[in-house]
């Protein structure tokens, strides 16, 4: 059993790098930008009127002119016109192009307009009410940087430079997997000793918030079936999120099967509550899928290419397999599968997903995880040896985030979880932490 800190560090030492993909503009919100976005032209692209009024040449003011003949009306969307004389003006609308030969805009409120003539009622400043070409951004400037999480405003920027498609960080393909003979479908009426699946539905809902639609799989407590199904899941997914089957029970086959499939166990069991039996591992199939790997190994055995003397050709074969694979499945620079095998209790699964998986995903996508903290109003009693994750409700008041615990019935209590805004982390310790202490906060999805 390792400490929470060690477990957390281990998880963060194994990010996946999944490469990039191109998505439609309106599929991009919430995704991570994987290209720099530059201005295709100046912003604004022309000297733009910011008021409804008239456009004049300021030199006229110097010469004492305060009454102008109206040449015409310019609205947004009209090509640039030319002011033919400084004794003339154009009426001009917000968003319209400043006419050539004009340099100042006077809003209607400061003019009297009658019979095709505009008279100023207030002396303007030269250049006023013009949003100058390139004053926001000049052509070629970087508007949005690689690594940005795309928000609604960024969608506007992308639209304005004509990005109908955007290169974003690829999200992992994920399979959420339930285990246990006691589980039946949500649509079924369970027998007295059965319960409906709920964890993988919670996980699916949580992943959907991240724009990930996971595959779902259920494993009965049969070692052969588990092995067969997991082998296939490893071929198809970058991440497996399992729920249940990692305790010390006689039918908790998951750790053994994962070992048999060649998954490297990074750790099993963490000094934490909830979620002590959490198992974490990585299958590194090094550019070849399971089946390809097996076939390749067979070939190596037959023709002896597994010997050290043929290393180069082995590498070439690998690269070819990888190329074929990339062609078939899109860019997938790594053929690693990361396994988060959570204990089956709802609160354990849910807490571990938020505590470990989300920061791991952020790191894999190149995002920095923010360390959030909340202030607990009441004293908190730590556990002498375990790191605790306590469900809390939060309140944002006067610029402070304050939290109070939710009374739950332990790791099986799903209902209390629906009321929680997140978990606080309470490091192990002997002495009670006084009111107003601040704690690391993990918000719930």
């Amino acid at each position: 059993m390792i400490s929470f800190e060690d477990a957390f560090q281990h998880v963060l030492l194994h990010p996946l790098h999944l490469g990039d993909e191109q998505v439609d503009l309106l599929r991009a919100p919430g995704r991570i930008l994987a290209e720099n976005i530059t201005a295709d032209r100046d912003f604004p692209p022309f000297d733009r009127s910011t008021k409804d009024g008239i456009a004049i040449r300021f030199s006229a003011i110097d010469k004492g002119i305060d009454r102008f003949k109206i040449e015409g009306t310019l609205s947004a969307g009209m090509a640039q016109q030319r002011l033919i004389s400084e004794s003339n003006c154009f009426e001009i609308m917000t968003g319209a192009v400043l006419p050539e030969g004009a340099d100042t805009i006077i809003m209607y409120e400061d003019t009297d307009i009658e019979n095709g003539w505009a008279t100023l009622t207030k002396t303007p400043d030269q250049g006023q009410n013009i949003h100058a070409q390139g004053s926001d951004e000049t052509a070629g400037a970087v508007l949005l940087r690689r690594g940005l999480k795309i928000n609604a405003a960024a969608i506007g920027v992308l639209a304005s430079v004509g990005k109908t498609e955007v290169v974003v960080k690829k999200l992992p393909s994920i399979c959420v997997i339930s285990t246990g003979n006691e589980l039946v479908e949500v649509s079924e009426t369970p027998l007295p000793h059965q319960i409906r699946k709920s964890n993988i539905l919670s996980l699916t809902a949580a992943l959907q918030r991240l724009n990930i639609v996971p595959a779902r799989l259920h494993l009965t407590d049969d070692r052969k079936i588990i092995e067969m199904e997991l082998r296939e899941a490893f071929e198809q997914h970058d991440v497996l999120l399992l729920s249940g089957g990692v305790s010390k029970g006689k039918f908790d086959f998951i750790p053994d099967v994962l070992a048999d499939l060649g998954v490297e166990k990074i750790f099993h069991r963490v000094a934490q509550r909830p979620g002590k039996p959490f198992w974490f591992g990585v299958l590194d199939s090094n550019g070849v899928s399971q089946k390809q790997g097996l076939r390749k190994r067979e070939t190596e055995i037959k023709d002896g290419s597994g010997q050290s003397g043929t290393k180069t050709s082995g590498k070439t074969a690998n690269m070819q397999a990888e190329k074929k694979d990339i062609k078939e499945r899109g860019t997938r620079p790594e053929r690693k599968t990361t396994v988060f095998s959570f204990p089956g209790n709802p609160v354990s699964t849910f807490a571990n997903y938020h505590v470990y998986f989300l920061p791991w995903l952020s790191l894999s996508l190149g995002l920095e995880s923010e360390k959030l903290e909340v202030i607990m109003e009441k004293p908190v009693r730590p556990h002498p040896r375990l790191t605790l994750f306590l469900q809390v409700e939060t309140q944002w008041r006067e610029g402070r985030i304050r939290a109070k615990p939710i009374q739950g019935n332990g790791s099986g209590d799903l209902v209390s979880l629906a009321k929680a805004d997140g978990f606080i982390r309470v490091p192990p310790g002997e002495t009670e932490l006084p009111p107003e202490s601040s704690f690391w906060f993990v918000p719930c999805t």
Copy 2:
């Protein structure tokens, strides 16, 4: 021109009540629950083992028995068994049903198991390691209340009681509408005097976060076309979000057309920056659509049913029209359309959407809007007459949300907006507000 406070109150005096609808469980995250969810059985539904170990009858301990013959092994998903004698035990796995006649579970760590016999190495407490039937919730208890925003944990609760479909508050059907001849599609290359649409893409992205996929419409600056297109939009949508065309320009037809279509103007122009020309109104077509309304009015004129003596029959006709309408379009208890007509500058549209539309939507869905506050690190200078909405970046540190302003180029600057975490509201005033003042905060989508 009215104050921000008045404008805000006016908007909140006009919520829409859209009724409920049934959605699939995995479409429910983020939606507002419109039914109480009760436990269909006890939670847990049986006395459930919380450990892997053995199940005994405690009376044996009182009689000095510490060695038990193993009758068999119970795993999760097996029907309840019966312990035939207090000198026997069952091996039992986490999640399994406590056998009849047993009342205490001892984990493997506190036993020695050999040749079909289990010997205790530690004296147990009666009833330990059992998650008692109904101890979380009893059958019939309300687990989730109407009005809850459905999170991932709530999805787990819904799954556990077999809700494959959930009744949620209906979301409004929304049309986002751009105006202006200068706008071209994102996919087009604009001429020098044109720009690409961006506001309605931003709004669409923002609405998608709320599970609303809006219709999109573009209006050129032609009064007849605007009237025709808006008339149709009113028939099809609960909310119109317009961007542009509400200033004092000669081609800003929107307010006039809305008046012609019978939309009640609640206000136009607010003492705020950005977004001064914001226009807000409501079309109350009282259970009949535009066209039906027109036809009905014609009928009333012909047969005189518009007179006071025939009020009842008029009401009945209305109800029939409404019934037909509900049948055709699903439950729509109200036939009101709410119009948010935002100024066309990106920052204005975006700020007004967050400041007015989102609280209005929350209220319409029966949610309480939280009033969030942040602390500004530096002094803030108010405007003597206008309420300001300043773009800020926030930092969550030691339980405090602190903010600093983002330098933008005014209401046309979309790029600075992509960096903002939200807006602070700065009420009008003459004196600078000192550092560490707290402000109402409107987070960006």
